[in-house]
């Protein structure tokens, strides 16, 4: 193998020249944003990036935080190893006051370990695994994203109401990584507890694009319900091919992102799915966000955009309230369980016990193709869960289901 010395020299020169951030400015507050921008979660990461940029611009337009300008540093977290290394660099080299973002549950855990050691706030905006709020919970990590239990109980209620659980057989397809394993565990607890039985369950590699072998298995098993515990691009592929094979069993998902259904194409979206937020929520703050995002990016925001936008706004509010950027003070502020506008009808709060944002969720149901009017409004939104007269904790994991001891 030959690599010319000149080439090597040029390459290293480019490498050294690239990042030129000036330090020592005390008039800015830096916040690091990490999220997967490539790979099977990349489609969601793009919404996350756009939303946090919008939130940052709005914060600065309103005078910044405590009179200081907010500066966002944004990176592709790629995978747990890279995500962890970048989190460390954000904290040690760039001296960020907080880290916001992430979608992949395994990467979120890696980042959480870094921030807990460095005592810097991390707000998780897209990783669902219950373990992150349970056995792996960390004092400096908060979760705007709903936990798997919330997703399962939200859609579970809808399924029970439709008579699709008690005495029925379900076939589960599950993404084969941290998120999926955790979700499958929670889903099986719920379905088993509500009287459902397993017709079949398969773990699906995250890079699998062809679902046909599994669709044939489902057809053979003749379940009463097909449950998709899938993630990222998997959901789009599953929806397209489920329609292609013309299977008629009802479909429900325990994990979902609206962007993946938008990407499936006309006539391919079906079933009942859970979301923490959608663009049809009528709260004034929600509709203001929808308008601002749509004006700036030419498409409505979805649940991932909501997560990163809301998280940055909450962090900025906490910094204003605590008059500084001290991580521990912000943690204690959030632990006070103060009520906050989270772009939904009801206000939410971080639960002290596990740092999960207590909030409404929604079970959305795909509209029949004939009723779909445009590219975006492809489902009927359904009522907020829990109902207005119930505690927000009704859908979250109980202390028995998911115990957290902060380290």
């Amino acid at each position: 193998m030959q690599v010319s010395r000149r080439g090597l020299l040029a390459a290293s020169a480019i490498g050294l020249a690239a990042p030129s951030i000036s330090y020592g400015q005390s008039d800015v507050i830096r916040i690091g944003h990490l999220t997967p921008r490539t790979g099977f979660l990349g489609p969601l990461g793009e919404y996350a990036v756009q939303a946090i940029q919008l939130a940052g611009e709005e914060i600065n337009a309103a005078g910044g935080i405590n009179g200081k300008r907010l500066e966002l540093l944004m990176e592709d977290s790629v995978n747990p190893q890279t995500g962890s290394a970048k989190a460390e660099r954000f904290v040690q080299r760039d001296k960020v006051a907080a880290i916001v973002g992430e979608i992949n549950s395994a990467t979120a855990l890696a980042i959480a370990q870094v921030v807990n050691r460095e005592r810097v706030l991390f707000v998780n905006t897209g990783a669902n695994s219950d373990a992150l709020r349970g056995s792996d919970c960390q004092r400096f990590m908060f979760h705007v994203e709903g936990q798997n239990s919330m997703y399962v109980k939200t859609v579970g209620r809808a399924l029970v109401a439709k008579g699709l659980v008690r005495g029925k057989k379900y076939y589960a397809l599950t993404a084969d990584y941290a998120f999926g394993h955790d979700l499958l565990r929670v889903a099986k607890n719920f379905m088993g507890g509500a009287g459902g039985t397993v017709a079949g369950e398969d773990l699906i590699p995250t890079d699998l694009t062809d679902f046909s072998p599994f669709l044939l298995k489902i057809r053979q098993a003749r379940p009463d319900l097909v449950v998709a515990n899938l993630a990222g691009a998997q959901i789009t592929n599953f929806l397209k091919q489920y329609s292609e094979f013309g299977l008629r069993f009802p479909v429900a998902g325990f994990g979902f992102d609206t962007a993946l259904a938008w990407g499936a194409g006309e006539g391919n979206f079906l079933g009942t799915w859970p979301v923490m937020w959608h663009h049809m929520i009528q709260a004034p703050s929600a509709q203001a966000f929808v308008r601002a995002f749509t004006t700036k990016y030419g498409r409505p925001p979805e649940n991932q955009a909501w997560g990163d936008y809301t998280a940055l706004k909450l962090v900025a509010q906490a910094m204003t309230a605590t008059r500084g950027t001290d991580g521990m003070k912000i943690v204690e502020h959030f632990e006070g369980e103060g009520r906050m506008d989270i772009l939904k009808t009801r206000e939410g709060y971080f639960r002290k016990r596990d740092h999960q944002l207590m909030q409404e969720a929604y079970a959305v149901t795909a509209l029949p193709p004939a009723e779909v009017k445009n590219r975006w409004d492809i489902f009927s939104p359904g009522d907020a869960v829990p109902a207005a007269n119930e505690s927000l904790e009704a859908i979250a994991a109980t202390a028995e289901e998911n115990a957290c001891t902060f380290r």
């Binding site: 193998m1 793009e46 694009t209 691009a233 789009t236 938008w262 990407g263």
Partner: protein, 291 residues
């Protein structure tokens, strides 16, 4: 009863195999003649899919089916003429780096133009539906893919074995110096081969657009699989690649049936086995210039 379902998985695997084949044959051709491992092959596949989504509203899926591979083939001509051509005789690592870079540039370009989220696209109404024979079910659309792939493969085989063009290409694979000594320049042939190869990849992309997510990483996802097919089939062997594509499809289907979590791993395991037992691949030929 069980045997019926296994049989169904085997047939379904053959259908998928046909699809891999369109990509793998091009990879094999470019490597055999030019000695370049084309890591950008997946990008041409993805471009085929994206062009379909972009063109279908105006010229229909049928129109995109023809126009998109042709456009990608023409782009292939340019890439060959201005980039690949400089690397045929050089250190193979340079060609590898070049195409790896091209793939990354292409993926990012898709992200910039069409966004990272999957772009919606569905099977055209006329091609939807299923064919049900007894217990077996087939997607009508996939049967169409099989038909198109079969015609493309047959056409390529006839081109390589029954025409003057094919004779020069095959000679060029075996002994480019002798071809040059006979006063034939391989350059235009290489251009044509690249155009055909990436055109086939784009054709696969067109047919994939209705049934898998059209997103920037779709090329990278399919490319690894196509490589495994080429490695199993053996370099320079047309029918080796054909056989390998079908074997990979079937092995994958059976793994999904019996050991679902090993669906992807099964294929790599198969590759390791073939490399251990037959390092040249199933029907690999001895190619002088690579020894």
């Amino acid at each position: 009863m069980e045997i019926v379902f296994v049989f169904e998985q085997v047939l379904n695997g053959l259908l998928i195999g046909a699809f891999y084949l369109l990509i793998a044959l091009g990879l094999s051709l470019i490597f055999s003649l030019g000695g370049i491992v084309n890591l950008a092959h997946g990008a041409f596949f993805a471009l085929g899919a994206y062009l379909t989504v972009a063109l279908a509203p105006t010229i229909g899926f049928g129109g995109a089916f023809v126009v998109s591979p042709v456009l990608v083939g023409l782009l292939g001509l340019l890439v060959e003429r201005f980039l690949l051509r400089r690397f045929y005789r050089g250190d193979p690592i340079l060609g590898l780096l070049l195409t790896f870079g091209l793939a990354m540039v292409a993926e990012q370009a898709f992200r910039m133009i069409w966004g990272a989220a999957p772009v919606p696209f569905s099977i055209p109404m006329a091609l939807r539906g299923q064919v049900i024979i007894g217990e077996l079910i087939f997607s009508r659309y996939r049967l169409l893919i099989l038909l198109v792939a079969a015609i493309a493969v047959l056409g390529l085989w006839l081109l390589l074995t029954r025409t003057a063009f094919g004779r020069v290409v095959r000679a060029g694979v075996q002994n480019p110096d002798m071809v040059a000594a006979l006063g034939i320049s391989l350059k235009p042939y290489m251009s044509a081969v690249v155009a055909i190869a990436v055109g086939l990849a784009a054709l696969a992309g067109v047919m994939s657009a209705p049934i898998t997510g059209v997103h920037p990483a779709m090329g990278a996802e399919i490319l690894t699989f196509a490589f495994v097919v080429v490695v199993i089939g053996g370099l320079g062997s047309f029918w080796g690649v054909v056989a390998a594509a079908f074997i990979v499809g079937v092995v994958r289907g059976l793994a999904a049936y019996y050991v679902p979590s090993a669906t992807e791993a099964s294929v790599y395991l198969l590759m390791v086995l073939v490399l251990l037992l037959r390092p040249r691949g199933l029907f690999g030929e001895r190619i002088q210039k690579f020894e």
